[in-house]
């Protein structure tokens, strides 16, 4: 069975600026995927490539086995896309946007969208520009779901929403996922929002996939080790050490287990999603000369 989203050696440059470099990724269908990475990591570029809005500079991307560029009429009806900041025609009334969707999508389920919005007490006769931020996000989500897609691509869907609106948004999203068995790819740099809802993790940084897999498995195969001061140089050469931090008295490392147990003199802890993501994001980028600043927890909340 073909993957929901598959990239091989996918490269995208804007002029001389690389956004994605030789990216390999395979997301099986049926997952709720957290696509995380710092700003500028290439998350939006990846999603736009998946929608066919951009043409790869090299390599290829496939959605359910089809190329979004070559077969847009097959890919577009199957994928619901919510762009960053959820752009909508703000002068349109909610009702007009539903009509807009009905006319441009063959698999449209307007009744379902109407019911969802009515349940949220969003007035259909009101122009979108006059709704609250949370309501606007709900309208955007309802329109995306009404397309009856097999996969949803959501680019920073929770940005600029207050905590209540975030929770309601995720609530509606997860209900839809439960009802319809969608594949969802959710990009975010806020890990806390994703922890409860996602079962698959893709970490993107510096235009490359740093880590991808089912969250449960990933957490099982990583450990935090705490021990006395140690030889930094040695640790940094060991590929199983993803990240280490040092104080004069102790060394903390996040390691990949690779099937073998951790060395005995270390105190071993299970890893949380946030710690895992942070470790991968602040990892030195191999032989790349331009080593980026480690991502501070602040930017990841």
């Amino acid at each position: 069975m073909s993957a929901a989203l598959e990239a091989s050696a996918l490269t995208k440059r804007y002029g001389a600026t690389p956004a994605l470099t030789e990216c390999d990724l395979r997301i099986p269908a049926g997952h709720v995927v957290a696509l995380v990475g710092p700003n500028g990591a290439g998350k939006t570029t990846l999603l736009h490539l998946a929608m066919g809005f951009l043409k790869p500079t090299a390599g290829e991307i496939k959605v359910f086995g089809w190329s979004p560029q070559a077969q847009p009429t097959i890919v577009l009806p199957r994928v619901g896309f919510l762009a960053q900041d959820r752009p909508l025609y703000r002068r349109f009334k909610v009702r007009d946007l539903l009509e807009f969707g009905r006319r441009l999508n063959p698999r449209w389920d307007g009744e379902l969208a109407r019911l969802r919005l009515e349940r949220l007490a969003i007035p259909l006769h009101r122009p979108v520009g006059k709704l609250s931020g949370g309501q606007e996000a709900q309208v955007a989500l309802a329109l995306t779901l009404a397309k009856k897609p097999d996969m949803l691509l959501l680019d920073e869907p929770l940005s600029n929403l207050d905590p209540l609106a975030r929770r309601e948004f995720m609530q509606v999203l997860m209900d839809a996922v439960a009802e319809e068995g969608l594949t969802v790819v959710l990009s975010s740099h806020i890990i806390a929002d994703l922890e409860r809802t996602c079962d698959y993790l893709v970490i993107l940084a510096q235009g490359q996939v740093q880590l991808a897999g089912e969250i449960e498995g990933l957490l099982d195969s990583h450990r935090t080790l705490v021990g006395g001061p140690s030889d930094r140089a040695l640790l940094e050469r060991d590929p199983s050490v993803i990240h280490s931090s040092h104080t004069p008295r102790q060394t903390t490392m996040l390691v990949k287990l690779n099937g073998r147990p951790a060395a005995g003199q270390w105190e071993e802890h299970h890893v949380g999603l946030e710690a895992l993501v942070l470790a991968y994001l602040s990892r030195p980028s191999g032989d790349s000369a331009a080593r980026p600043e480690p991502v501070e927890p602040a930017t990841l909340q």
């Binding site: 929608m51 066919g52 809005f53 951009l54 043409k55 560029q69 847009p72 009429t73 577009l76 009806p77 619901g80 896309f81 919510l82 762009a83 960053q84 900041d85 752009p87 909508l88 025609y89 703000r90 002068r91 349109f92 007009d96 009509e99 807009f100 969707g101 006319r103 441009l104 999508n105 063959p106 698999r107 955007a140 995306t144 397309k147």
Partner: protein
């Protein structure tokens, strides 16, 4: 997609419709008054009687002051209307076409539009096709009205249809479609509304001036003929000049000298009409370059073909850009 385009642009459609309705109403009202004046002042009976060479026939006849006065009465209105009608395509390009796609980029709504199940290409083709159709139909309708409105002036004036070359015939329809396609491409490539509007303004005016002022006089080689019997309704391109039998230019000073000599040697026969005969005997003729009236429609066809050609290339470029950029 047609409904979608309408829903998205009905505000522009209503404003444009309103402007066109007001323009048409003004043309009808002033046209009816002008036509009544044309008949009651006697200008109408002068014009058809004189046939296609009104000016020549009218010179020195009782018709001359009648036609002159009629033309004078309506001159300033004609100029105003000419200016207003020439501005319409600019407004179309700058305020409707340039924001058409650039605003979608600025407000990022193109992402919403492109996330539906139709391809970008179809989105653009239907949207543009609809705009082109509406512009073609309204420009054609307005031009027909302008031609009716202008017909009395054409019969009374010296340069006939040429005076209103830019507002009648096929050319104005070409200008409108060109403005639309230029604005669209500018918006698509620049992706920001204000710069796209500026580029459309300067690009449109630049191309119009280039073709209208520099190329149009040379669409066909001008006729060189006696300045005294240029047919009414001709487009006179040059000031009159003297030329001798060998085809060399003769300066006004030289002609003045000859006239002075003639006046002093033969003062009895010297008068206004014998001077021309005298100069003619000397092999000197007063010439001018002009485009005769029967070339008007050929010129319209050439001008329209140029602008339609430009418009088609720009639309093709827009669609290509939309596909290539992605």
């Amino acid at each position: 997609m047609i409904w979608v385009t309408w829903a998205q642009h009905r505000r522009e459609a209503l404003v444009s419709g309103l402007i066109l309705t007001v323009a048409a109403a003004l043309l009808v009202i002033t046209g009816v008054i002008m036509l009544a004046d044309f008949k009651s002042s006697g200008a109408a009976s002068c014009a058809p009687a004189a046939g296609p060479a009104v000016g020549v026939f009218a010179t020195g006849t009782s018709c001359e002051p009648v036609l002159g006065a009629f033309f004078g009465r309506w001159f300033s209105l004609t100029q105003t209307a000419w200016l207003a009608l020439m501005t319409l395509p600019v407004l179309l390009g700058v305020f409707i076409a340039a924001p058409l796609i650039s605003r979608e980029f600025e407000q990022r709504t193109y992402l919403f539009a492109w996330s539906q199940s139709i391809t970008r290409l179809r989105w653009a083709v239907v949207k543009l096709g609809l705009f082109v159709t509406v512009v073609l139909v309204s420009a054609a309708a307005l031009t027909v009205l302008v031609m009716w409105w202008h017909s009395p002036l054409e019969l009374a004036g010296h340069d006939g249809p040429w005076a209103a070359f830019d507002i009648q015939g096929l050319a104005p329809i070409g200008y409108a479609v060109f403005a639309l396609s230029l604005g669209t491409l500018a918006g698509l490539v620049i992706r920001r509304t204000i710069p796209a509007m500026a580029l459309t303004l300067f690009g449109f005016v630049g191309i119009r001036v280039l073709i209208g002022a520099l190329l149009r006089p040379h669409f066909m080689t001008a006729v060189t003929g006696s300045a005294l019997d240029v047919k009414q309704g001709s487009w006179v391109l040059s000031a009159s000049y003297y030329m001798d039998a060998l085809g060399h230019h003769v300066t006004f000073e030289r002609v003045n000298q000859m006239v002075t000599v003639y006046a002093s040697t033969d003062p009895k026969t010297f008068n206004g009409s014998t001077v021309m005969d005298y100069l003619h005997q000397q092999g000197i003729s007063l010439l001018t370059d002009y485009q005769p009236p029967d070339r008007f429609w050929t010129f319209q066809l050439i001008e329209a073909a140029l602008f339609f050609g430009l418009a088609i290339s720009l639309i093709a470029a827009s669609l290509w850009w939309l596909q290539r950029r992605a």
